[in-house]
């Protein structure tokens, strides 16, 4: 089975702190993604990566950055956390680009910024 592991399930951070969310996948997938999920807004893509050190902005990249130094690991960074970044963050991965590639999700990280 594909496993996408998010290291932190629940975090509480203060406004202005730098926050790191870590994600690891164990299936040698090329693509990795970070989404956030908010009530009434659904899943929104923040950033994705299609290869090591390669990244592209999604629909809502403002206030976020990412890092992919190794194929299996994709990190989401909040440089200076703000209260409007309180949300559930979902990491995901898929095998490759193209038709019908299923995206597999991690369990999610609940971030509260106070």
């Amino acid at each position: 089975d594909v496993k996408v592991t998010q290291s932190s399930r629940y975090l509480v951070k203060r406004t202005g702190e730098k926050v790191f969310l870590e994600c690891v996948q164990d299936m040698d997938h090329e693509n990795m993604f970070w989404y956030r999920q908010d009530p009434g807004l659904g899943l929104r893509l923040i950033y994705f990566s299609y290869d090591v050190k390669m990244k592209e902005k999604g629909d809502i990249p403002e206030g976020y950055s990412v890092s992919r130094e190794k194929k299996e690991r994709f990190s989401l960074i909040l440089e200076s956390a703000s209260t409007n970044q309180t949300s559930m963050y979902l990491c995901a991965s898929s095998l490759r680009q193209g038709l019908g590639n299923t995206i597999y999700f991690g369990e999610g990280s609940w971030l509260t910024v106070v």
Binding site: F48, Y50, Q97, L99, G100, T102, Y104, F105
Partner: protein, 112 residues
Amino acid sequence: EDQVTQSPEALRLQEGESSSLNCSYTVSGLRGLFWYRQDPGKGPEFLFTLYSAGEEKEKERLKATLTKKESFLHITAPKPEDSATYLCAVQVVAGSARQLTFGSGTQLTVLP
């Protein structure tokens, strides 16, 4: 602009009462339609992928169908453990890692 709309937003069923969830889409070119199940506080779990109109897939009490404008997730004789939020998503650009556009989901509650 590509749009995915799910209805109803919430659905309450009695155990054994069959029903359908709807996912309608307006996209420039459908490459695949995905259904996911999401339990509270957890990440989405993959259920099905449909590629072309007329295609159907089944898993236990769930059956997904696809037309040129919408997809249905039919739930036959549901049980309380089927309670979850069901998400659909469309793949709209082949070859792009951007991949999926999600609907807002249908929250299903099955009462014993």
